[in-house]
Amino acid sequence: MGSHAKSWLLEHETAREMLERVQAERPFLLLPPLHRVPIRVGNVVELAGPSSSSKTHILIQAAITCILPKQWNGVSYGGLGHSAMFIDLDCRFDISRFSELLNHRIMEAGSSSKVGCHKMESEAQFARMEHYNEELFALCMKRFLYTRCYDSSEFLATLKTLHYRLQKERQAHGLNVHLLLIDSIGAFHWLDRGSSSFSLEGDNRKSWHLQNVSEAVVQEIRRLLLVHPMLVMATKAVALGNKYSTNELTRSYGKWPAADNQYSRNVTSTDQKLPYREYMPAVWQSFVTHRILVRDTDDDSVNDEHPNNSVFLLEWLMPPVNSLDKFTVTNTGVFILS
C-alpha cells in the first residue's frame, strides 16, 4: 500500500519538459493568412464568409503547406510533411487549380534557393531540377486524400469509417494525417432541415433530423481527434448583413462614390453580435475553437501589384483580434498584403 502511494508521487517529467515535449509533438502552426493567432493540432477552425470569398483557397493553401516536406534534396520548402484529408461537401473542388498552386510553390522554393548560389550551369542540371520537382510533386499529391459526399448519409458514413481508413494508411504508407479539411460544413443544412422525422417502432429510436445528424457529426469528429490528433478546418457559407454587402455586380458597373457609402466597408465587428446570421446548431458552434470571417472588398487602391485579383479581408472573430488582414489570391497562392 505504501509503495503504491509512493509510486503515485514519483514525477514523470517536470513542467518544462512537458512543455517542450508538447511543443515538439504538437507545434503551433502559423499558416498564412491565418498567422495572427497560432493554431495547433486539436483545434477546430471555422472559416465563415459569403460565397466566392476565397475560403476554399485558404484551405488549399493550408493543405499544400501540410503536404510539402520541410526539406527535400537540399531545398527547404517549409512544409510539415504530413498528409491532409479533404472532405468535399460542396462537391466543387478543382484539382487542376490545386496542382497549379502546388507546382508554383515547388518551383518558387526551388528557384529561391538558387539565389546566392551559382546559377544553373548546364541543361543537365536544369533537367535534373525538373525531374526532382516532378518527383516531389508526385510525392506530395499522394499525400493529399480527397473524397466528396452528396448528402449527410454519405458524410456520416465517411466519418464513421475514417478511423479504419487512417489506420490502414498509417500501416500501408506510414502516413500520418495532420489536417482535416471540410468544405463546407453547412452544405446539407437545408437538406437536413427539410427532412422531417418519423419515429416509429420504439421510443428510443432517433429520427433523422438536423439536430441528431449534427450531433452525430460532431461526436464522430471528436472521437477521431482523440485517436488521430489533427487540425480541423471547416468552411461555412454565410450571408452577410447589409453593412458588409458588396454586390459583385456593382463592383464593375456601379460606381458608388466613397462619400455616398454610409458604412465603410472596412469596419470590424466590434460588438458581441456576429455580423452574419448563425445557422449551424449549437452543438457545432460549441465544438469550434477558432472562428474567422472572410469577405471581399472593392478596395482597389491597395491592389497595384495585382490588378486582376480581388482583395479579401480577414477578421478573427474568436479569439477576437482587433485588426483586419488584407490578402489576395494569386497564381502562387494566398499573398498577404497587410
Binding site: F144, L145, Y146, Y164, L191, G194, K206
Partner: protein, 400 residues
C-alpha cells in the same frame, strides 16, 4: 413459397417459383395484405426524394409484419430506401450474421435500419455488446454493419488519381463564342456546373444554343427546355456557319446527323426534371464506352422550375433546390458531363438586379457568368461572378 424481393422501379414485383409473374397475384383474393404507395410526379407531395423515401420507410415498418408488400414508386425514391432505410431483416439473406438476436440487440438500442446506425454512437454500442452474453457475435455483427457502411460513401482518392481523372476525362468544351471562350480559358468545363444568369433577352438562350450546336458535332447533348425556348432553326443557323462543305446535299446530311445528336426534353415542373435526370443517369450508367458520348447537359432555365417551389414553403423548397443542384453536380462528375444552367435575375437593393434563387443557390454552381446586352449595339457583356480559378470581376464582350 414466394419471397419478397426488393425491385427497383415499377418492374416485376414478385417471383413465384422462379417465374416472374406480374398478373397472377390478383388471383389470391384477400389472402395477402397489400400496401401500395404511389408517389408520382404530380407534385402532390412537394418535397425531396429523400423525404418521400423516409415516408415510405415509415409506412413499411408498419407493414413489416405482413408477407407481401407491393411498392410502386419512382426510382429516385426507392433507391435511398433500399440502400439506407430498409429494415435490418432484409440484410439477413446476404449477411447471415445479422440474425434475429443481433436485430433484437439493435432494437433494444433503437436501431432498426442501417440509417439508424449512422446517427448512433457505434463505440457505445460496442461497449454495450461487450456486456452481453454473446458479445463476440454481436461485435462481429457491428463490424459487418461497418463494412456495409463503408460501401455507402464515395471512395477516397489521392491527389495523383484525381489529377489523372481530370486530365483524362474532364476536358474543356469550347462554346464557339470567342469572347466567352477566351474569358473562361477555353470554354465550359466537363465535370462542372456553369450558371448563366442575366436579365431577359441578355443572350442566355442564344449562348446555350450556340454551345449545343458546337458540341453536337462530336458529342451528344441533352437540352432540358422549360420555357419553349429551344429553336431548331437557330441550331441549324449556327451549324450552317461552322459546317464547311461545298455541296448543299452534303451539308444537309451533316446537318441532319449533328442535329440528331441533340436531344430536347420539355419539362414544366421540377419533378419532371428529376424524372428526366434519373432516366439519364440509368441510361448513362449502362451505355457502352464507344460511340457518341453525351457530354453536355443544358437546363434552360432552372429558375423557372425552382421559383414556384421556393416561394411556397421555405424549407422544403430550398431542400428541393439543393437536391436538384447536387444531382446535377453528381451527374457532371460521375458521367463526365458539362452542365450549363440558366438563371434569371430579380430586383435587388438599390434598384440593381441580382441573380434569382437566393443565397443558398450561390454555392451550388462551380462558375457563374452574368450576361447582359450592351445598349446600342449587337454585343453582349459577360462578367465572371464566380470561377474556380479566375478572379471574379473579369469581363469580356462577345457577339452571337
Amino acid at each position: 413459397m414466394e419471397r419478397f424481393r426488393w425491385r427497383h422501379g415499377c418492374e416485376e414485383i414478385r417471383e413465384k417459383d422462379g417465374k416472374k409473374d406480374k398478373g397472377e397475384y390478383w388471383h389470391w383474393g384477400f389472402e395477402f395484405l397489400t400496401l401500395c404507395f404511389c408517389f408520382g410526379s404530380g407534385g402532390q407531395l412537394a418535397t425531396t426524394p429523400a423525404v418521400k423515401a423516409r415516408l415510405l420507410s415509415a409506412a413499411l415498418f408498419i407493414a413489416g409484419g405482413s408477407d407481401h408488400v407491393v411498392l410502386v414508386a419512382p426510382y429516385e425514391v426507392v433507391e435511398p430506401l433500399v440502400k439506407y432505410m430498409a429494415p435490418l431483416k432484409n440484410l439477413e439473406t446476404e449477411y447471415p450474421i445479422i440474425d434475429p438476436s443481433f436485430r433484437k440487440f439493435c432494437a433494444s438500442h433503437g436501431i432498426f435500419s442501417v440509417e439508424d446506425f449512422l446517427i448512433h454512437d457505434l463505440y457505445m454500442l460496442a461497449a454495450f455488446a461487450e456486456q452481453d452474453i454473446s458479445s463476440e457475435r454481436l461485435k462481429e455483427g457491428i463490424t459487418q454493419v461497418l463494412s456495409i457502411i463503408d460501401d455507402m460513401h464515395q471512395p477516397w482518392w489521392n491527389g495523383m488519381e484525381l489529377l489523372e481523372d481530370a486530365k483524362r476525362n474532364k476536358h474543356v468544351l469550347p462554346t464557339g463564342i470567342q469572347g466567352i471562350d477566351l474569358l473562361l480559358g477555353g470554354g465550359i468545363h466537363i465535370g462542372q456546373l456553369t450558371e448563366l444568369v442575366g436579365p431577359s433577352s441578355s443572350g442566355k438562350t442564344q449562348v446555350c444554343l450556340q454551345t449545343a450546336s458546337n458540341v453536337a458535332s462530336n458529342h451528344m447533348v441533352l437540352y432540358i427546355d422549360t420555357s419553349n425556348s429551344f429553336s431548331p432553326e437557330r441550331i441549324a443557323y449556327f451549324l450552317g456557319k461552322i459546317i464547311d462543305v461545298a455541296s448543299a446535299q452534303a451539308k444537309n446530311q451533316i446537318l441532319q446527323k449533328v442535329m440528331s445528336n441533340i436531344l430536347c426534353h420539355s419539362v414544366f415542373d421540377i419533378f419532371a426534371m428529376f424524372d428526366v435526370l434519373h432516366q439519364l443517369e440509368s441510361h448513362l450508367r449502362y451505355q457502352d464506352a464507344g460511340g457518341c458520348q453525351m457530354r453536355l447537359l443544358i437546363v434552360d432555365s432552372i429558375s423557372l422550375l425552382i421559383s414556384p417551389v421556393l416561394g411556397s414553403s421555405s424549407t422544403q423548397g430550398r431542400a428541393l433546390m439543393l437536391s436538384a443542384g447536387y444531382l446535377l453536380k453528381k451527374l457532371a462528375h460521375q458521367h463526365n458531363l458539362a452542365v450549363l444552367v440558366i438563371n434569371h435575375t430579380v430586383g435587388g437593393e438599390g434598384g440593381c438586379s441580382k441573380p434569382a434563387l437566393g443565397d443558398s443557390w450561390k454555392s451550388i454552381p462551380h462558375s457563374r457568368l452574368f450576361l447582359s446586352c450592351v445598349r446600342g449595339s449587337n454585343d453582349y457583356n459577360a462578367l465572371i461572378l464566380k470561377h474556380p480559378s479566375m478572379a471574379s470581376g473579369k469581363a469580356a464582350r462577345f457577339v452571337i
